[in-house]
Symmetry: C2
Subunit: 213 residues, 2 copies
DNA sequence: TAGATTGTTAATCGATTAACAATC
DNA sequence: TAGATTGTTAATCGATTAACAATC
């Protein structure tokens, strides 16, 4: 059987579907049609049905979709039924923010270690996890089964740290450094480029200003 | 003259061009062809030329692009030649991380105020800016010319805070709350959904795992 | 059964890539 | 001038939307 390639655009939309369905679930909504959902999400009903049908039929003609079932199925597609262990490299404000964000645990992402080079931070604890010196990183990664490393180190350090992590066996990197990482194909990188995001906001504001003329 | 609408895909790529050109500039690279840049960025040269030509011709036949000039022109397109004043609503770890990120200032984004509801945070200072109580927010927004509000409040609070900010005159929102905001068309919202990003990483890791079978 | 809504095919639209004449 | 590379048009590819038969 030919396995249909899922487009990036579809994958980008999945977390948003998951979020909306989670909200509906909290409001005890039992069923929803693609039409109703499309109005809430401001997309076309067609797109919702097309997107979902990349993964199989989750609905029922004449009824729509069962919210709880669809939510759980999208969760499975996103790999959220599994648990992930995570380390944070860089215990600055952003690293600490991630470590403190308890909500990730609810989704199955568990912080197993936090590392920094700054001796003033090493030894401190965040939510019961002691910040370790980066010179312990190699041993830690090799001796623990870590799925994801969140990289919250300065731009200049990021490529080397990433290369080391990969050498030691890390297969998933959540990159917050404002630079792209060139890593082997079997390593998965997800970028969060805050400055890119701010520039996009700046662009949109400029456009509005121009329109106002 | 018919004004050509710039596609979202192009706008999303602009900050990345800006970043690469900035890096080249730091390395004192004077000129670059679309071909060279395409190899660094792992996109097609065609796409680079198409993207840039949405805004006019910045290059020269037989030569390529002058790095400094192109960098500065893209900066202008992104609205980075202007200065922006910014407030942060929510002085938790993420809000503090943003307040501490000095790099934004280099790009012309100045933090003018930080607000929180928690009395234990109010009165503290971050880089010389005192955290104020949210009950001072209305006056502050009305009496200062604030371009952007970064929203780092809990999901449940976000819609109301955003609505208030807009009511008081804010036209740009940098939203870190894991929810979409429904605001008037003249308000610009840029979302940073960290949990969506983590789910995408989770998806990619799952895909790799499946492929390994 | 009649009404509703899916799953899916076909049509449209838009974005990316290829090609090449223009020109530095 | 010859070589290089842009700016831009044309071709291709992919994604979105529309339409509707299938079916709950």
């Amino acid at each position: 059987m030919e396995k249909k390639r899922i487009s990036k655009a579809v994958i980008n939309r999945l977390p948003r579907y998951y979020r909306y369905l989670g909200d509906l679930l909290e409001k005890d909504v039992v069923r929803i049609s693609s039409k109703e959902l499309s109005e809430k999400m401001k997309v076309t009903a067609s797109q919702i049905r097309q997107d979902l049908n990349n993964f199989g039929g989750f609905g029922q003609q004449g009824y729509g979709y069962n919210v709880e079932y669809l939510h759980s199925e999208i969760g499975k597609i996103l790999g959220l039924e599994k648990q992930y262990s995570l380390i944070i490299i860089g215990a600055g404000n952003l690293g600490q923010a991630l470590a403190n964000y308890a909500d990730f645990e609810r989704r199955g992402f568990f912080v197993k270690g936090i590392f920094d080079i700054n001796p003033r931070l090493v030894g401190m604890s965040i939510r019961g996890i002691e910040i370790k010196n980066v010179d312990e990183l190699e041993d830690f990664v090799k001796n623990n089964d870590i799925d994801i490393a969140a990289l919250t180190v300065p731009k200049a350090k990021a490529p080397q740290v990433a290369a080391d992590l990969v050498k030691w066996g890390i297969k998933g990197i959540w990159n917050f450094a404002p630079t792209d990482l060139n890593l082997p194909d079997d390593v998965v990188v997800e970028n969060v480029h805050l400055s890119d995001s701010l520039m996009k906001l700046s662009y949109k504001l400029s456009e509005k200003r121009k329109l106002a003329d």
